[in-house]
């Protein structure tokens, strides 16, 4: 028999519209409109999971987003296996496949439950204390075992095949929560003419009207009113209604993050449809109508399947038409749980007893329960439960002492009161105020333009809620400039009240008790654990939280935080507000990475920058490497060469004949104006005033603290015009650095800065034959050594297009860099390449560029420097204008630590075995036989095989390195110690004869 617990006369679902689904391979039937939880309960299934630490059987606790226990995996196909889905949120669809988690081999028989027997050893702080040492055991033994036995679902092991969408929206009034409060506020704001967005996490609006049987609004049953209001709102042009949409984050300046679930409820989602949509909404006013979350009672063994929240049982009955059990009792300390007993009793369910901690409960609900023949045990507590996979018996005792009594049941509903959902308010940085009488935190001082209404504001009466929400909606609309005179007004009434209740442990779980009375179900934290944390010295709730991990599971303690706080407060003998409240952080409920990332993944993760010559490199078989966002030709393998062979050939060919290199990615800044030279003097360590027009200089840029920030060759094109080059990665920050000084420190200087990085394609031709190769293409420029020596620049034409021709060298060979407008880059390259072929030239990539410059001891910013290297450390003292009275960094250079002895200085390293190539980043020591940890005196910054030198070469930063020339040092590596000798940084052509041709 299927759906044995479905009551046809109850609920709002159509019993004719059935859907089949499976749970752990077993087939079940539910109804359209069910959640997975309601469909399981309709079939009498409470047991849905095993707990995190003790593997205790757990059932469905709630009917909403707060669910800590009933998490399952939903499997659609090989790639779509979503873990930790709350059954209370997952809507049923035909063919849904759910599997339980955290159990082996099966849900009803679980080996891991042995840790339940070991519970006394698994107490608070257990992980911190037990698994500390030895450290190796943590990696090899403890962590893998703990990860397998504890924990939640299994992460999918395939890439997410779904796609996710992203939208920005603006509105006058954003309403979070579509219950009575939210709907009333949205309606009032919309009638005033404001643009409104209302979002609710459920598939239908209505909130608690879903279960509040006695609610009546504007002369209709509450749920009906909600559906009609939603329809009316949807029909308006100035309102957007978002369902299945959770407001998960409240950020600065009234920006909220919402996630809309679009396909998780569908049996066969269209592959084109996004799975979720992230909304980033900027609202002039925010109305928070997020309701309240019911708390369970904390008593011994309160976690057995069949023990659930009272409001959840009412939801399953009144909305889904499901009786959560046959023999039900209620355990409470407040009124609203009585309504659950009454509704169930009226539906024909056997309600044995209401156990009420209060000695003298009174009021209409209490009377009604009694008149329906439900036994009310006032001043009683539930002191224990029995039942392995489902609760079957509870013991109750008078609080003041007296004989124990036992009740045979299959379901126990509990409620200790309602916790206002102040998560978003708190995220908005609002200050919470403690309501002593009702033991709850309420919105106090607002920091952003928001207002809270209804249960999240502590308003527990429906009539008051509606009146307050109508006012708030209207005011919010008016404040944003809405002018329509229409005012909405209607009456509401309900049969119950949500105030009162208790927080903390109930009798039977009080101090001294050894009982497992759970506070946080998902992380298996008991009242005893929290007391132990206090006993071990935790004073702040933030420490208690981290020590016990209470509230740190995926439910973020929605049902448990107040209990944990109350128990800690009792132990500390301090009032709750003094113990503090842990910080609420986004997201309110878990959000998929997919939704946050949206389209920004794969090729759209970040733009790829390519030079105009990229297609040529591709066609000529280049291997590419990413350099920042650039994709650069790394090397050009030929005839099956590996990287080593290709780079060796390119290095050799460039020094023997010539090499052609795409240097387009270099940053370029045009510094122009009557004060350009003065500005350059301030920005670089070098002197510029006397640099002749047509000459170049290698410039070093510092930060004010004296450390190297960037470098590059600068050419002076005219008295008032400099062509500045920067490192490939440094272009934006160098321009920002220059603009900063120009705009804010030296605004009197007449200088203009323009980024020209992408205007010029740069073709470097390096090697003894470089001049011969470019000669046929150069017009109007005399490129003889006499007319155009090393470090000079000329403007003219190359291949008939305007060009800036630099004579410079990053290789130590005679070299030119042809700058032509980017659109001509490819055709000029092709012409140069064709001519180069006649001279045996090769194309080379970034790897060869690196090797050739290292052979000459030329540094690369970010490789030889790391933000703590001075010009002197790098051997660049010569680049500092000694007569200059000011430049950025001039004072920083004099700081005591920067002039002290013992700084690491750039030197060369030669391995004793010429074939051994050091590893970049490897540490260098003076004595390899010293005990570990050794004193490290430096590290390798660059290291290559040098085909031209016939041995490996390396650059390193070594303590007092320049005083160690010829000294033997050591590089300890996992497979042995490598001996090296300290040398000059220049390995090839030390006198620089080749550069000058």
């Amino acid at each position: 028999m299927t759906q044995a617990f479905r009551i046809p006369s109850a609920g709002r679902l159509d019993t004719g519209r059935t859907l089949d689904f499976t749970f752990d391979g077993k087939s079940f039937t539910g109804l359209e409109g069910d959640t997975l939880a309601s469909a399981l309960l309709a079939n009498g299934v409470h047991l849905t999971g095993r707990s995190f630490k003790y593997h205790r059987p757990r059932g469905i606790l709630s009917a909403g987003a707060e669910e800590p226990n009933a998490l399952v995996g939903i499997h659609r196909d090989e790639a779509r296996r979503t873990p930790n889905v709350r059954t209370t949120i997952q809507e049923l669809y035909a063919g849904l496949t759910a599997v339980s988690q955290n159990r082996w081999p099966s849900l009803s028989f679980d080996v891991g439950a042995i840790s339940n027997l070991g519970a006394p050893f698994f107490s608070a702080g257990f992980y911190y204390k037990t698994f500390m040492w030895p450290r190796a055991a943590w990696e090899r033994l403890y962590e893998p075992v703990i990860r397998r036995t504890a924990g939640l679902g299994v992460a999918p092991d395939k890439p997410d095949p779904d796609h996710y969408s992203n939208r920005f929206a603006h509105c006058d009034v954003l309403v979070i929560g579509g219950g009575a409060a939210g709907l009333a506020a949205a309606l009032a704001a919309a009638e005033k003419g404001a643009s409104v967005i209302i979002a609710d996490e459920q598939a239908a609006l209505g909130g608690s009207l879903r279960f509040e049987s006695g609610a009546e609004i504007d002369g209709r049953p509450g749920w009906e009113w909600a559906q009609e209001t939603k329809t009316a709102l949807r029909a308006r042009d100035n309102v957007r209604v978002l369902t299945r949409t959770t407001g998960f984050g409240y950020y600065a300046h009234n920006m909220l993050g919402l996630v809309e679930r679009l396909t998780d409820h569908l049996a066969e989602p269209s592959p084109e449809a996004p799975r979720e949509r992230l909304w980033q909404v900027r609202a002039k006013r925010v109305v928070l109508a997020t309701g309240a979350i019911e708390r369970h009672m904390v008593f011994p063994d309160n976690d057995r399947p069949g023990v659930m929240l009272a409001s959840a049982a009412r939801t399953y009955l009144n909305h889904y038409g499901v009786a959560v059990g046959r023999k039900v009792s209620v355990y409470t300390a407040e009124d609203s749980a009585y309504a659950a007993a009454i509704d169930l009793k009226k539906s024909g369910t056997d309600v044995l007893a209401i156990v009420d901690l209060r000695t003298d409960p009174e009021g209409a609900l209490v009377e009604q329960a009694r008149s329906l023949g439900i036994d009310v045990f006032a001043g009683h507590a539930v002191t224990g439960t029995e039942g392995r996979l489902r609760v079957r018996r509870v013991s109750i005792s008078p609080v003041s002492g007296g004989p124990r009594r036992e009740l045979e049941i299959d379901t126990l509903l509990t409620s200790s009161g309602w916790t206002p959902a102040v998560h978003l308010f708190s995220q908005s940085r609002g200050k919470l105020a403690f309501d002593e009488e009702n033991q709850r935190f309420l919105p106090g001082e607002y920091v952003q333009d928001a207002v809270s209404v209804g249960a999240c504001n502590g308003t527990s009466d429906l009539a008051e809620t509606v009146a307050e929400s109508l006012r708030a909606g209207e005011t919010a609309a008016k404040e944003t400039g809405a002018k329509k005179r229409k005012t909405v007004k209607f009456e509401a009434q309900a049969s119950e009240d949500w105030s009162s209740g208790m927080a903390g442990a109930a009798p039977g779980a009080k101090s001294g008790s050894k009982a497992m009375a759970f506070v946080d179900f998902q992380h298996d934290v008991t009242a005893k654990d929290i007391r132990q944390a206090v006993r071990e010295g935790m004073r702040s709730i933030e420490h208690v939280k981290r020590f016990t991990t209470t509230g740190m599971a995926t439910d973020q303690g929605k049902t448990s935080n107040i209990h944990g706080l109350a128990i800690a407060s009792e132990m500390l003998g301090k009032p709750i507000p003094q113990v503090g409240l842990t910080t609420f952080r986004s997201p309110y409920t878990p959000v998929t990475f997919g939704a946050l990332v949206g389209h920004g993944r794969g090729k759209l993760f970040e733009p790829t920058r390519r030079t105009p010559i990229h297609s040529w490199a591709e066609a000529h078989g280049a291997a590419f490497e990413p350099v920042g966002q650039w994709e650069r030709a790394w090397y050009f393998p030929q005839n099956g060469e590996d990287m080593h062979a290709a780079v060796a050939r390119e290095c050799h060919t460039t020094r023997q004949a010539a090499g052609i290199f795409d240097a387009t990615t270099l940053g370029k800044i045009e510094v122009v104006g009557p004060d350009a030279a003065r500005f350059m003097e301030l920005m670089y360590t070098n002197p510029w005033q006397k640099l002749a027009v047509g000459r170049c200089r290698y410039g070093v840029m510092l930060r004010e603290d004296g450390f190297i920030y960037d470098d590059g060759v600068v050419g002076r094109l005219a008295e008032d015009r400099f062509h500045v080059t920067t490192t490939t990665g440094g272009a934006p920050r160098v321009l920002n650095h220059m603009e900063d000084y120009l705009q804010t420190e030296f605004p009197e200087l007449k200088v203009w800065l323009t980024s020209t990085s992408e205007q010029w394609a740069v073709i470097a031709v390096q090697g003894p034959k470089s001049r011969d190769i470019i000669a046929p293409f150069v017009e109007d420029i005399d490129i003889s050594d006499e007319a155009m020596p090393h470090m000079s620049v000329r403007e003219g034409r190359v291949c008939g297009v305007p060009a800036r021709l630099f004579r410079l060298s990053f290789t130590g060979e005679r070299g030119f860099e042809i700058n032509v407008p980017a659109d001509y880059g490819l055709s000029v390259w092709e012409a140069v390449w064709a001519e180069g072929q006649k001279y045996g030239a090769c194309a080379y990539g970034t790897e060869t560029m690196h090797v050739l410059r290292a052979e000459k001891g030329l540094i690369i910013i970010g490789q030889e420097t790391d933000g703590t290297v001075t010009p002197d450390d790098a051997g660049l003292n010569w680049a500092i204008g000694k007569k200059k009275t000011d430049f950025v960094g001039i004072r920083g250079l004099q700081r005591p630590d920067l002039v002290a002895k013992g700084r690491k200085q750039l030197v060369g390293l030669k391995t004793t075995d010429p074939k051994t190539v050091l590893e970049e980043g490897a540490q260098v020591v003076a004595d390899p036989d010293q005990p570990v940890p050794m004193k490290m005196i430096g590290h390798v910054t660059s290291s290559y095989w040098s085909e031209n030198c016939g041995h490996s070469i390396a650059l390193a930063l070594i303590e007092d390195g320049r005083e160690r020339m010829g000294e033997k040092l050591f590089v300890p590596m996992p497979d042995g110690v490598i001996e090296v000798e300290v040398t000059s940084t220049v390995f090839f052509d030390p006198d620089g004869e080749r550069t000058n041709g």
């Binding site: 600065a252 300046h253 920006m255 900027r282 004010e704 603009e739 605004p747 004072r891 920083g892």
Partner: protein, 99 residues
């Protein structure tokens, strides 16, 4: 994501167009080479980092590219005012008391 009013563009634009640029109203010392080590430390490294109203620099990086100053309440992230470089530091003592 903040909304920032650029005093040059004269409109509110979203934060991704801007880049934060540190504390405002710290002029580079005219006599920087004459500062003692202690003076240089205070001048270059020490920043106020207040809880409450902070004066800071922003650059409208992906807009007009200008640097400007702002007074922002670090508790609420609300901007009290943004103003052009060279404008004197506004007197917000009234605002501070009100907070």
């Amino acid at each position: 994501m903040l909304l920032i009013h650029c005093p040059y563009c004269e409109e509110e634009r979203p934060e991704p167009e801007f880049r934060h640029a540190g504390e405002a109203h710290i002029a580079r010392a005219e006599n920087i080479t004459e500062l003692s080590d202690e003076e240089f430390e205070r001048h270059f490294f020490i920043r106020s980092n207040p809880k409450g109203i902070a004066f800071e620099r922003w650059r409208h990086m992906h807009g007009c590219a200008r640097f400007f100053n702002a007074a922002r309440d670090t508790l609420s992230d609300k901007f009290l005012v943004t103003y052009k470089i060279g404008t004197p530091k506004p007197d917000l003592s009234g605002e501070i008391r009100r907070k």
